[in-house]
Structures are given as C-alpha cells and as structure tokens.
C-alpha cells in the first residue's frame, strides 16, 4: 500500500538533503576525486614535474609492480609489522586494561600515564625513540650494556635485522594505550553479577579470565584488532621518520610515496597506492561486516 508522505516527512527529507550535501560535497572533492585520480594515474605514465601530460600504459605499472622485489619486500615488511605490532598491542593492552579495571588505588595514575604515549604526536614519538636508539649515545644501549643484556652497542635503526624490530617497538609503545582503552571500555560493560557468581562458586581468577571474561569481550576485541590492523597496514609516519625510505623497514605507503614524490614516477607510485588501497578496502569490508551486527541493532 503506497503511503502518502505527510508534510512533516517531506519537510524533514528535504532538510536532510540540504544538511548533508555540503559535507558530502567536500568529502567528494577531498577524498572521492583524488582517489579516482590516483587509480586513473595507475594506468598512465604520468610524471610529477608535469603532471598534466601523460599517456595510458594499460596494466604495465601493475605488471612491473608484481615483479618488483623491493615492492614485495615492502609488502612483507608491512604485513610482518602489522602482525607483530597488533599481537603485542593486544596482549599488553589487555594486561593494562585488566590492571585499570581492578578497583585498586593508583588506578588514576596508571590511566593518566597510559594516555601520554597516545597524546604525543607520532613524529615526536619517533624522534624521542630515535634518540634513545642512537647507537653511540642513546640511552637504550647504555642501559642494556650496563645490565648485561647485550655485549656491544646495537645499531637499532641502522642494522637491517633490527630496524623493523625497532619500528615495531615504538608502535607498540605508542598504540598500546589505545587498545587498552578500547578493551577497558568493553570490560566495563560486563555485568558485575557474573564475577560475583564466579566468586561464590569459588572459581580461581585465571580460570575466570579464560572462561568468562575473554569469551565475553571477544566481539569487541575482534573489532579493535581489525581496526588496529587496518591502521597498521597503512602506516607511514613512523617508519619514515625513524628510518627514512630504507628497504628494511619501508611500508607499502612509504614505498608508494617514495616512487611518487622522490622518484616522481606518478604512474608507478599510483599503482602501488592503488594496490594498498585495495588491500585496505578488503579489510574494511571485513571490519564493517564484523561490526555491522552491532550497528544494525540500533
């Protein structure tokens, strides 16, 4: 049965259009258009100093990309980085969240302290750690040498084997607070009665954690993990400031930008960017579908 819309409904719908248009227009201009352009450029041989003149090259850029060992090295770096960082951030975040959730004095101090790495701009964190990582005068080598963990100064950001580890350590330091807060929010939504019942039943704490807490926060945890993984896959600032364009730590974004801006190869750089975008898009679909259950239930 077709329902005639009342004046009220029509008025509101017209208003909705007017209210949303400006925002969407800006979004189209700032995100939609540049994205389409980038994808378009992937199929050309455009160059940065004369970006206006180019010709189509079909899939040539993608073909070269597929055969480029440096590209695949960057892909591997990014995936390794994402996997290790997110794992550590989740575990440490869980530990911190559980600590914050325990109603013991000192909680406020911990929460404040934990927010500091998050508050510090990424570039600043990178430089702070860069200085701590300094092979000759850095404080990390000093402490580790003194304590006896290492026997000679390590070149944290210089050595091919250690560089990625160094980047991961900084990312974990910086982002664990965020994970901790997300997990804490999920923990605080759990009804207290469950724990009281468990206490009455005399279930030991570790078992309560594994069999009760963990399963209950799993959905929120999954969403947080996917969200963080998405962020980790597109990382740029940290590796760039710590180690520049170095092969050993270049993420896909670093590689793409290098080709784009430093090598001025817009076509090739755009192809790499597009590839990264597709990877992220697939993951985003996973994220949105995973979170959609919650979303639609409103």
């Amino acid at each position: 049965m077709a329902v005639a819309q009342s004046q009220l409904t029509r008025q509101r719908r017209r208003a909705a259009l007017a209210f949303i248009l400006p925002m969407m227009a800006v979004l189209a201009a700032v995100a939609g258009w540049p994205l389409l352009r980038t994808i378009y450029f992937s199929f050309t041989d455009a160059n940065l100093d004369n970006i206006g003149s180019y010709s189509g090259v079909g899939f040539a850029n993608f073909a070269s990309l597929a055969q480029d060992p440096e590209w695949w090295h960057a892909v591997r770096n990014t995936v390794e980085f994402a996997a290790v960082s997110v794992t550590f951030e989740t575990i440490l975040g869980l530990v911190i969240a559980l600590t914050l959730n325990a109603h013991l004095p000192g909680r406020g101090v911990v929460r404040a302290a934990v927010l500091i790495p998050w508050a510090i701009p990424t570039v600043v964190s990178a430089q702070m750690w860069n200085w701590m990582y300094n092979d000759l005068y850095g404080v990390l080598n000093y402490i580790f040498l003194k304590v006896g963990v290492i026997d000679h100064p390590y070149a944290w950001t210089g050595s091919p084997k250690l560089a990625l580890v160094a980047v991961i350590i900084v990312d974990v330091w910086k982002t664990t607070p965020f994970m901790a807060l997300l997990i804490l929010a999920a923990l605080q939504l759990l009804p207290a009665e469950i724990y009281e019942a468990a206490k009455l039943d005399g279930i030991p704490a570790p078992k309560v954690f594994w069999k009760v807490t963990l399963p209950l926060i799993k959905p929120a945890l999954m969403v947080a993990v996917i969200f963080r993984t998405l962020d980790a896959l597109r990382i740029f600032d940290l590796p760039y400031v710590l180690t520049g364009n170095s092969r050993e730590t270049a993420s896909m974004a670093v590689y793409a930008r290098q080709k784009l801006i430093d090598f001025q190869d817009v076509g090739y750089g755009s192809a790499a960017s597009t590839f990264l975008f597709v990877v992220i898009a697939v993951f985003t679909v996973v994220y949105i579908t995973a979170g959609r259950v919650r979303f639609e239930s409103r």
Partner: protein, 277 residues
Amino acid sequence: MKARKIIGSTLFYLLVTAIVVYTIFPFYWAIVSSLKEGSALYKVDFLPPKPEWGNYTAIFKEQPFGKNILNSLVVAVSVVVISLALSVTASYALGRINFRGRTPLLLIVLSVSMFPQVAVLSGMFELVSWLGIYDRLWSLSLSYMILTLPFTTWVLTTFMRELPKELEEAALVDGAKPLTIITKVFLPLLGPAMATTGLLAFIAAWNEFMFAITFTLSNERRTVPVAIALISGASRFELPWGRVMAASVIVTVPLVILVLIFQRRIVSGLTAGAVKG
C-alpha cells in the same frame, strides 16, 4: 593466606610501576635531554647535570619554530572549525532523519576514514597544484579534511542519536523547523560533545605528517611535525638531538596537559567512535 595476598599486592604494584615507567620514560628522557647542551649530550646522565635552556632558545632563533607552531595552529583550528560546521547539520540528518540511502551514506563516511593517505596523494597533489596552493597552508587545510570530516561526522552522529526524541517532538509541536531544532534545541546541548570532538580532530590535524611534508617546501610554511622531523644541529658536527628534544617538549607538554585534563571526555569520545561503531 595473608602471605598470598601480600605477594599478590606486591606483584600488582610491581606491574603498575612497570607500566608507568614503560609509558613515561621516553617522555622523561626527552625532557632531560632537552636540558643538556653540546657535549653534555654525549654522556648518559639520568638527571641533567646543569639544566641549560640553550636548546629552547636555539630552535626559535636558528629556525622559525615559532612560525611552525603558528602554522600548525592556523591549519588545525581552521580544519576543526570547518569540519564541525559541516558535520553538525549532516550528523543531525544522519542520526535522526529516516531517509533512503542513510545507511550506505554512513558507511561511505566511515570507509573514507579508512583510506590510506597515500592512496589520495597523487590525486591530491594534482589538485593542489591546479589550485595553485602548493607550499601554502591552504593545501593542508584542504587535504586534512579527509582526516577530520569523517571523524567529526561519525562521532557527532552518535551524539545526535542519543538526544531524547521527545525533546525534538516538543519542538516540532512548538512549530520548529529542522534548522531551528538544530540551532535552538540541540546545539546548546551538544557543547561538551562538540568540544570533545573538536579536541580529538584538533589532535589528529596537529599530528598529521605525510601531507604536511609533501605539500610544503619552505621552512616558513612547515608545520610542527615536519619541523621536528627535519631539525638540524647548530653545526655539522653537533648532534641535533638536544634541539629536537626541546622542540618535542614544547609541542608535547601542552598536548599532554590538555589530554590529562580532558581524560574522561577523550576516552568516551574515542570509544564512542570505535567500540560502538
């Protein structure tokens, strides 16, 4: 039994101490390092032998750090103001008006916040050159919208949804048109929400690096993150780290203070954006 409790408590407080040291030490070390000049940097002293402020004056004299801070401020404030203005009305529509295509639109907004920045870089570069705003702050005010707009829209939509329906209906009965409802009824209630959202968007804009380093060329146009990444020492032979740390401290201390003051709001704003979404 009591021994167990004592051990348990001690372990707990050891854990707490470990966490606090782990999170704060790098910041502490930055402050200490910033107070060391010249050769003092070559030694590792956990407390500065004699606090020296030379680094702090140097970054303002040797490079236009003051201008850098101003640039960051101008860009961040303009971006936040524009984003909030665009988002307020959009979030009302997205949060409270039922229309066809609402869900897809919300998903589009959400997905834009997932874009890798580099994916729009070449397109944005072309746009910036075409508009003639390369090496101008406008290039940043424009490009940063891709970061802040989806965020402010999404978070404000969540806040808008939570406002009571009966309040809106009372206004309708009183004869309020949609825009009036937003400005005269809802906006006064959204003060804290706007402040939190604005603050988080400000922090995101303030921290941005990739667009800043790509679209600015001259020292005078640089924003703070770029400046800190590129600070050089007093001479070729001097470590720049004292200066870098001084710059870092200057930039970080206000942010840390802001974050500590607005702790609760920030936590709820962040989780509203992520967990609920």
